[in-house]
């Protein structure tokens, strides 16, 4: 189906809800723009924008756009890989797998970087010899409505990672918001996306609409707040193993895990076992973990990566070097969340430059 023009998002939200999807999209809450379930298009943050820089996020009034802001603290990870999930229960000597919860969710407003992150996660969870069936179930229950970024933030660098700002693949529908006149250019990226689009009130997109959408992405690409030079980065980081820079970063690093928690590709988990006080019952729960905790590398009662320097080095080297060996792509997709949400304002792009 060729790209079409939509005047309103309400029919889209309505049709998705009618198909049994909870429609989750950006809303203004607690002084940030973050994902919550939408009742109608009126819940979207029209007129709101954000300012993002290392260790700082502020909501501000923006242009009269519905999607005039950059990455939110939430990514699709919360839906593909929830913070906690029960794996199995043990009762009277019998283990019983906990049924996977895979609610039908339509994510409205994911960005090109988020789609790239989902593609990275797909490789991690489904690409190997031991696919994660719980991930597959949750992943298949997602309907992805992407929005092409118009207003990147000060910590964005998808353009230099080659993952954005325009969504090219991995979506059911992709929207580009145009300002004058205010409308949405919509394109389908999947069969079900095309079917849904055909049901919505629409009209064909003209050459001017297509050109205006191209211009949105061109402008956004030119407004990236950050930049990463990928040339030789994979080899360089391995060579910098003993660099004094790691210790210097560690003096500023809180090892608080925020970078890994907000990262849409960081997938590490741990399992916790709980026993029932009544006796005889137990449960194993999987929860988000981070390579910044000591417990993450605890072996024989002591952590392998005890120093903050060793932990930061592990994280950065994994993202830009060993991830490539493991999965064939970088582990970073350039969303900038780790920069914005680091309470100490450590900037991954700056540190990569210093490790040159």
């Amino acid at each position: 189906m060729d790209p079409v023009v939509l005047d309103s998002l309400d029919p889209l939200i309505g049709r998705l809800r009618a198909r049994g999807y909870a429609v989750v999209g950006p809303t203004v809450r607690d002084g940030v723009i973050r994902f919550a379930e939408l009742g109608s298009a009126a819940d979207l943050p029209r007129g709101w924008s954000d300012e993002q820089e290392p260790g700082r996020y502020r909501l501000r009034q923006g242009d009269d756009l519905v999607f005039g802001f950059a990455a939110s603290p939430d990514s699709a990870k919360r839906y593909t890989q929830p913070p906690r999930s029960s794996l199995f229960r043990w009762r009277d000597g019998v283990a019983e797998e906990t049924p996977v919860e895979a609610p039908r969710v339509a994510l409205l407003g994911v960005r090109a970087c988020d789609l790239a992150a989902i593609a990275v996660q797909d490789r991690v969870f489904l690409g190997g010899r031991h696919p994660d069936e719980a991930y597959r179930a949750r992943r298949e229950a997602l309907f992805l409505v992407a929005v092409n970024c118009a207003v990147p933030s000060g910590t964005c660098f998808c353009a230099s990672m080659g993952t954005g700002p325009r969504a090219t693949t991995g979506f059911d529908l992709a929207l580009t918001e145009l300002a004058e006149p205010h409308l949405f250019l919509a394109e389908a990226g999947s069969e079900r996306g095309g079917e849904l689009l055909a049901e919505l009130p629409h009209r064909p997109a003209g050459p001017a609409d297509l050109e205006a959408a191209d211009e949105v992405s061109r402008t956004a690409a030119a407004r990236m707040g950050r930049h990463v030079d990928l040339d030789g980065v994979k080899e360089r980081l391995v060579e910098q193993r003993e660099s004094p820079v790691w210790n210097e970063i560690a003096s500023r690093c809180l090892t608080c895990t925020n970078c890994t928690m907000v990262c849409p590709t960081c997938f590490c988990t741990t399992v916790e076992d709980a026993t029932d006080l009544a006796g005889g019952g137990a449960e194993r729960v999987e929860r988000w973990d981070s390579c910044f905790t000591l417990g993450f590398t605890e072996l024989g009662g002591a952590p392998v990566r005890g120093s903050g320097a060793a932990r930061y080095r592990q994280w950065l080297t994994h993202k830009f070097s060993t991830w490539v060996d493991q999965f064939g792509t970088y582990g970073c997709i350039g969303c900038g969340r780790c920069i914005t949400w680091c309470p100490a304002g450590i900037d991954i792009t700056e540190e990569l430059e210093r490790l040159r």
Binding site: R29, D30, G31, V32, R34, G55, R56, Y57, R58, L59, P73, D74, R78, P83, R84, S251, R252, C253, L254, T255, C256, T257, N258, M261, V262, E272, D273, A274, T275, D276, L277, A278, G279, R287, W288, S290, F292, T293, L294, G295, G308, T340, W341, C342, P343, A344, G345
Partner: protein, 239 residues
């Protein structure tokens, strides 16, 4: 049936109260262990010995320093509950000044008062098997510790930062998004990131996390806070 004792030293009773607050779960605890000594709940005084002693409060008097030795002698396992027993508590503020000066200002007859110069954690006096942090402790963690000791396994009480729980809960970071000073990044988890869930900064009830780097916090905390977070006197986990 295994015997449980709950002891109180210099403290506000809030941590013991957490055990009573368990309500529904309390019945299940009582079904598995005999709560043999717990003056806040019952006047019976079992002489022991006990399989598990939960100790609340810090050591602030010469009598307490003696009594904790008795508690250790009659307890197979000794677990401290709360910030006072684990770190000295808010009353350890006296450690930063001259306690005799306080006595003369506060009491009409200071000579009636018998007190130690410092408020010290239980681990400064006797070996401790496990220290449960919090002011007060978290009910869920208390049940986990009791359950773990009954099952003979290590309790699942992570020492990482509050931020892990805060992000998992889906809170907005009050530090980054609002500029509210927050000790979450240097404080041990366990509360479920309660204060940030209500748009308040963490004020550190659970003490320093496993590797606190308070000097890296922005805004940089007061020198006294840095001193406290930098000190290694927070019980044996850090020793």
């Amino acid at each position: 049936m295994k015997k449980l004792a709950v002891w109180k030293f210099a403290s506000c009773d809030g941590c013991q109260l957490t055990l009573l607050d368990c309500e529904d779960e309390l019945l299940r605890v009582a079904a598995r262990v005999e709560i043999a000594y717990f003056l806040e709940a019952s006047s019976s005084r079992d002489p022991g010995p006990f399989d598990l002693s939960l100790v609340e409060g810090s050591i602030t008097t010469p009598e307490d320093a003696e009594r904790i030795r008795h508690v250790r002698r009659v307890s197979k396992h000794l677990v401290t509950i709360g910030a006072c027993a684990t770190a000295g508590g808010v009353q350890a503020l006296r450690d930063l000044s001259d306690v005799k000066e306080f006595l003369s200002v506060v009491y009409a007859r200071p000579d009636y008062i018998s007190t130690l110069e410092r408020s010290t954690p239980i681990s400064a006096h006797v070996p401790v098997d496990f220290e449960l942090r919090g002011c007060p402790i978290d009910k869920r963690q208390l049940l986990e510790v009791i359950g773990a000791f009954l099952a003979g396994r290590r309790p699942v009480v992570p020492a990482h930062s509050v931020c892990v729980e805060c992000k998992a809960r889906g809170n907005t970071c009050v530090l980054v998004a609002h500029g509210t000073p927050c000790l979450g990044p240097v404080t041990q988890a366990g509360c479920g990131a309660l204060c940030p869930a209500f748009n308040r900064g963490c004020f550190g009830c659970f003490g320093p996390m496993e590797t606190p780097n308070a000097a890296a916090l922005k805004p940089r905390p007061d020198q006294k806070v840095l001193q406290l977070y930098g000190s290694r006197s927070w019980g044996q986990r850090d020793a």
